[in-house]
C-alpha cells in the first residue's frame, strides 16, 4: 500500500525502487532454493511421533455443528492435521499399535435433517484418510461429548459405544473382523469404560457399577452389579472418570475421589478420599464437567479442576457442580496430599495431563474462552495458548 502510494506520487522513483526490489529478491532467494518444478500434487504424511515430542488431539465441537479433531504438536503449537468427526462427534479411539484411528460419528443425509447414519470410520494414522467404514445402529448418545461415550477393550479388538434412545445400552463392534456384533442392555446406567480385554463397566443411577463380561465373539457372557459405591442423592460423581493402569478415578460434586480398582477378578471400590477444602464461606470443589480429572501415570499425580462455591441451592436446584475450574490442584495419589495449586487465567472446562515421564504438559481447555492452554505442571506457567474458535471440548494426549 505504501509502495502503491509512492508510485502515484513519483513514477520515476518507483521504477528505480521496483528494479532494486527485483534485484534484491533475485540475489537473496536464488534458484538453488526453489523446489524442483513442476511441484508434485501430494499431501503431507505424518511420521511416527518423535519420542521427544508431545502431540495432542483437541476435539473441536464447532459450536455444535459438525465437529472435528485437531492434532497439535504441543511443544511447537503447530497444527499437524485434522479429522472430521461428524455431528456432535469428537472422540477418537486409538488402538495401541498406532497405525489406525477409529471415530464413531453421526451423519444426517441432508446435513441437519434426513436419514441418520452412525458409522465407525477407520482412518490411517499417518495420512488421516479413511480406510474403512462400519455402519452401526443409529443409537449413539448425542449432546456434550464425553471421553467415556466410546471405549476400546484392553486388547483393542472391540469398540464399545454408549447408546441412548433414551433407553441405555452399549453397542459392540468387532474392529478386528470389521463387523457389528450387537447391543448389550445397560438400563439405568451410563458411560462405558474398559475393564480388561473382555469386559467393561458402567455407572448406574443407584450409585452402583454394572460390570459386563464379553465372550470372544463380543457377546455378553456374564453381568454383575456391584453395590453402590457412591451416594447419588447426596454427592453424585462427575461421570467423566479417568483411568491409570487398573484404576479408574472419579471425583464427586462435593469433592471426594472415588477409585474403582478393576485389576482383580472382582472390581474393588477403594476408600474415598477428599480433595475439597473448606473456607471462605464455602468450599473448594471439583468443576469442569467435561473432563474434571486426569492422572499422570508414572508420577501417580492426580490433577483436578477446582473452583470455590458457596454451595447455595438455587430455585431450580444445585448448579455449583457445573462451574468451570479456576485452579488446577495436584495431588499425590499415594499420600493423598495436596502438592500444588495452579491458578488459571480462564475457567477450565476440560483438563488432561500428557504422559511424558519427563516434563509432561498440562492441557487446560476453556470452551467459554475458545482457548486451550499448554502449561508446565510444575510451575503452573502457561507455555502456550492455542485459539480454538469452534469450542475446544475434549483433550486426548497421544501416548
Amino acid at each position: 500500500m505504501q509502495i502503491a502510494n509512492r508510485i502515484k506520487k513519483a513514477p520515476g522513483q518507483a521504477c528505480l525502487l521496483a528494479a532494486g526490489l527485483y534485484l534484491a529478491l533475485s540475489t537473496t532467494s536464488g534458484a538453488a532454493e526453489l523446489p524442483a518444478m513442476p511441484e508434485p500434487l501430494e499431501n503431507v504424511v505424518l511420521q511416527d511421533k518423535p519420542a521427544d515430542e508431545q502431540w495432542l488431539w483437541v476435539g473441536d465441537f464447532q459450536q455444535g455443528h459438525y465437529g472435528r479433531a485437531m492434532l497439535f504438536n504441543a511443544g511447537s503449537g503447530e497444527l499437524l492435521g485434522m479429522l472430521g468427526t461428524g455431528w456432535e462427534g469428537i472422540k477418537l479411539d486409538i488402538p495401541r499399535g498406532g497405525n489406525v484411528i477409529y471415530n464413531h460419528a453421526m451423519y444426517m443425509s441432508r446435513g441437519y435433517r434426513g436419514d441418520r447414519t452412525d458409522a465407525i470410520t477407520t482412518y490411517d494414522a499417518r495420512t488421516l484418510q479413511p480406510l474403512a467404514e462400519l455402519i452401526v445402529p443409529a443409537k449413539a448418545v448425542r449432546g456434550w461429548p464425553d471421553p467415556n461415550h466410546t471405549a476400546l477393550t484392553d486388547d483393542d479388538r472391540f469398540l464399545l459405544v454408549q447408546f441412548t434412545t433414551p433407553a441405555s445400552s452399549v453397542g459392540v463392534a468387532d474392529m478386528e473382523n470389521g463387523h457389528y456384533v450387537g447391543e448389550i442392555e445397560t438400563a439405568g446406567c451410563h458411560h462405558v469404560m474398559a475393564a480388561g480385554p473382555r469386559r467393561f463397566f458402567t455407572l448406574c443411577g443407584d450409585g452402583s457399577a454394572l460390570l459386563v463380561e464379553l465372550n470372544d465373539q463380543g457377546k455378553e457372557s456374564q453381568r454383575r452389579r456391584y453395590p453402590a459405591f457412591f451416594d447419588v442423592s447426596r454427592d453424585p460423581l462427575h461421570g467423566s472418570g479417568t483411568r491409570s493402569g487398573d484404576r479408574w478415578y472419579f471425583v464427586s460434586h462435593l469433592g471426594m475421589v472415588h477409585t474403582l480398582d478393576i485389576g482383580g477378578e472382582e472390581p474393588r471400590a477403594l476408600e474415598p478420599w477428599p480433595v475439597y477444602l473448606e473456607g471462605g464461606s464455602g468450599r473448594w470443589i471439583p468443576g469442569a464437567t467435561m473432563q474434571p480429572v486426569s492422572v499422570h501415570d508414572s508420577s501417580q499425580r492426580l490433577y483436578v479442576a477446582m473452583h470455590h462455591s458457596d454451595l447455595e441451592i438455587k430455585g431450580g436446584g444445585a448448579d455449583f457442580h457445573r462451574k468451570g475450574g479456576t485452579e488446577i490442584w495436584v495431588f499425590d495419589i499415594a499420600t493423598q496430599r495436596l502438592l500444588q495449586r495452579l491458578p488459571l487465567a480462564n475457567e477450565a472446562t476440560t483438563i488432561a495431563i500428557s504422559q511424558a515421564q519427563e516434563r509432561p504438559y498440562l492441557y487446560v481447555a476453556s470452551f467459554w474462552a475458545f482457548v486451550m492452554a499448554i502449561m508446565d505442571p510444575e510451575s503452573g506457567e502457561v507455555l502456550r495458548e492455542l485459539s480454538i474458535p469452534g469450542v475446544p471440548i475434549q483433550l486426548q494426549p497421544v501416548r
Binding site: G64, P166, E185, H190, H191, C204, S233, P236, G316
Partner: protein
C-alpha cells in the same frame, strides 16, 4: 422391560430428590402435577447441551422477567440456546425446527409470586444450531446416569431429526413447595 426399569429409576430418584426438600403432602401434590405434565408429554427427560459464542451473555438478576435473557426465571435448568432469540419464543420452537416429543421436566421459582412451577424443557430439532443466546444455568441438572434431569444429552428423539437447534421452557403447572 428395559424402559420400565429406566422409568422406575427415574421416578425413584426424582422422588428421593424432592423428598429431601419438600414435605410429604406437598410431595404428593407435586408428583400429581408431574404426572399431569407427563400425560401431556410422551416421556420424561430430555435435554439440551450445546454452547457457543457469547455464553451467558448479558447476565443479570434484573432480567428475571425477560424471556430473551438467560436469567429469565423459567430458564433455571437450561443449558443451550434460547429459542426466544432464534425465531421462536420461550415456549414455542422456531420455524424450520421440530419440537422433540420427549422432554425433561424440572422446576423453577417465579420471583413474581414466589411460587415454583413445573417446567418442561424441550429441544427444537432438525436444523443447524441457532448459535444465539447461549444459556448455561444448570440448576438441578444431574449427571447422565440420572437421565431424568440431565441436560448434557441431546434428546432429539421420537421421530424428529437428531440435530439440535435451541431449547424452550414450557410452563406446565404450579408446583407446591414446602413451607
Amino acid at each position: 422391560m428395559n424402559d420400565n426399569n429406566w422409568m422406575d429409576r427415574a421416578v425413584e430418584h426424582s422422588s428421593r430428590d424432592l423428598a429431601s426438600r419438600i414435605s410429604r403432602r406437598s410431595l404428593l401434590g407435586r408428583l400429581g402435577q408431574w404426572m399431569a405434565g407427563a400425560a401431556m408429554l410422551p416421556l420424561l427427560p430430555v435435554a439440551r447441551f450445546a454452547e457457543g459464542a457469547a455464553i451467558n451473555e448479558d447476565r443479570s438478576p434484573q432480567n428475571w422477567n425477560d424471556p430473551q435473557k438467560c436469567d429469565y426465571w423459567a430458564y433455571c435448568g437450561t443449558n443451550g440456546y434460547l429459542c426466544s432469540c432464534c425465531g421462536g419464543t420461550s415456549s414455542k420452537c422456531p420455524p424450520g425446527t421440530e419440537p422433540s416429543p420427549i422432554s425433561w421436566i424440572g422446576t423453577c421459582r417465579n420471583p413474581a409470586d414466589g411460587k415454583h412451577y413445573v417446567i418442561s424443557y424441550t429441544d427444537c430439532c432438525g436444523a443447524a444450531q441457532c448459535g444465539r443466546c447461549a444459556c448455561d444455568r444448570d440448576e438441578g441438572a444431574t449427571p447422565r446416569y440420572l437421565p431424568q434431569r440431565t441436560n448434557m444429552i441431546t434428546w432429539c428423539y421420537g421421530g424428529v431429526s437428531s440435530t439440535y437447534n435451541c431449547t424452550v421452557s414450557r410452563l406446565m403447572s404450579v408446583a407446591e413447595v414446602a413451607k
